[in-house]
Amino acid sequence: MINKSILNPSLETPIQRGLRDVTIKRLFILPTIILLILINIFPLFYSLFLSFNDYSALKSLQWGVNPKWVGGKNYLDVLTDPNWWESFVTTAKYVILAVSGEMIVGFLLALLLNREFKGKGIITTLILIPMMMSPVIVGLFWTLIYNANWGIFNYLLGLGQTNWTGDPKLNLYAIVIVDVWQWSPFVMLLSLAGLSAIPKYLYEAAEIDRASAWFKFWKITFPLVSPLLLIALIFRTMEAFKIFDIAMGITGGGSSAPMLLSIELYKLSFVRWYTGRSCAVAYIMLILIIAISSIYIKYLNKARA
């Protein structure tokens, strides 16, 4: 005779002891939820609220005075200020130059490394080194490389005393070069993952059909690696929009520095202490990044399909 309690222990212990599995699960994720609310959700909504207020974090909190509700004035002030428009244009120019540079260099590197040769592993690792470094340190040591008097950059390229970091006509390009140097390996890494996943038989079939190298690249390699390239594009665009550390390290953020959004936002927030207005700028940036990312994601879904 089968003991029913073995098949169904609840028959033997009708009163449930301890906590239910679902409760335990909820208890485990509760600290994370609380942390998320405190660190992410609350500041997100609080900053949204502040963006509609005239508020300076430097002054003591006095509801109705600091912060003082001003509706959409902060947004209007920013969007009608020519200086901020200049910032948007400069940032867009920077994003286009840096991200396209990274995509081209990174993808070309991946194509070069997507074959077997002696020392491939060590070469791949060495190329990845810049990506592993702190951007602040990268910015600081590139100021030495760019130094107009004795920097190795001008020396190697024979550019005399070209002032890469101080000349307002050049320093945006100086930041682009550093960003491409640091982040092309990231694009390379993702591209390499995509390239190595392409089945070999596709190339073999193309070989049998005597397809040209260009045909194989355009009809096999590129379409199959493009979803990963789009992911790299999304990440790099978002990061490039927020560029701060490298730019600050190279230019110091003074008046000769390019008017990048994040530097201007930093000055507004932590030098001039216009907290309310800086929240509005941050939200405008957020909306822009979300909009651009949405377009990319749409294409990514198409590419996957």
């Binding site: 040769f117 080194i129 130094n147 970091t165 110091g252 202490w273």
Partner: protein, 477 residues
Amino acid sequence: MKHAKISAWISMATVVLMVLPLFASCAPAAPTETAAETAAETAAETAAETTAETAAQQFAGQTLTIHWAQWDPANFLQELSKGFEAETGAKVAVEQTPWADFQNKVMAGMAAQSDAWDIVVGDSQWLGAGAINGWYVDLTQWVKDNKVDQTMTEATMIAYAEYPKGSKQYWAVPVEGDALGFAYRKDLFEDPANKEAFKAKYGYDLDVPRDMQAYLDISEFFYNPDKKMYGAALYGDNGYDSLVMILEWAIWAYGGELGDYATSKVEGILNNEGGVMGAQWYRDMWAFQPPNYEKAFFNEANDVFKAGTVPITSNFFAFFPGLADKTQNQFADVTGFFAAPPNKGFDGKERQISALGGQGASVISFSKKQDLAKAWLSWFIKPETQAAWAKLGGFTCDKATLESDAFKTATPFNPAFATTMGIVKDFWAVPEYADLLTLMSEEGGKYVINGQGTAKTCVDNIAKRWTEVFDKAGYYK
């Protein structure tokens, strides 16, 4: 196979390009300027002689944190404070932050009501913000009880301690008196060939600048980039107040003003003819600066002089020990110092003005060790401590020390310092000063460094944006 070999070679070349910069930056660091160690030891010993048993019992084991900018005077203060440590058993930590970040770090700390620092040795312009926003402890009674207003020079009490000006309300104790001074190469200025050529070109003798036009002429005369000689070294924009220090000085020298400090009116005052002439002078001078000088501040101002690439430089007096020291400056023996030159303004009136630097020590109201902080201030203002401070290289504001022969003859730049401290003017010290400073740097930098617009549009834009700031803050209601 052939492809693989080519790829390997190209990859190797790429690696070299990617990794080379990592090593290129590994240049040996320049030796830092060190404090006068022997003086420091003597100072510490002297100060340590006077011990206060009660203080020792009360504060033993505690740590007083003083926040100041990263520069030699802060190192001197750390050395000097050994005397206080010996006297009380308390530990003193002088936390240093690079100048470019100093203000932002202090302001962020104050916004967060941080008790990380017990004393902040802050810029004179911060007084308004410190007083109005409740960051600084009101030291008025303490100053009177300890007769600080009598022992320190009146000008420095007004500049570094008093807010509002003329109110006799004090929020700090002067620590480092400082202002913009000038150094020049006597050997170049006294060279007969240079003298002859200069006179032939400009019609008057080559000497330390007799006015602002002469400063410009001298810079133009010596400017010869092919021989790595540039005209002069004036600060660029370091992201804090460097550019404003030179711009405000030039504006004052030509008879302009930053506004009416009593009514906060700016329009028509800052952008008068004197303001335009001052901005124009700075822009004209910019053509003769050394290369890569856009972000230059005090280090660069000394470095280019020590490298022999400029005949004349301007810097705060606090950095002149580095130019007078033979171990740091190969031209120390032929380096002369002078105060800001007099100049006829737009109205024909002659003025001699220098831009004020320097800082005062304020007790932070969020500190839980305010008694210890006040005990340190009481120790700091003692005559023997002030004498030791001056001996170390600190620019004391103590009357008796300043008037002593020992101080006047101690360094080659002290006479110029004494002159300068009588002709100083300061920037706005209102709570909105950081905003005013940033806007002046921005607009000044656009014109002086980037060459955008004209001198008139530069001062007009500053006046317009400052007026908006004052209007928003309710100064005109």
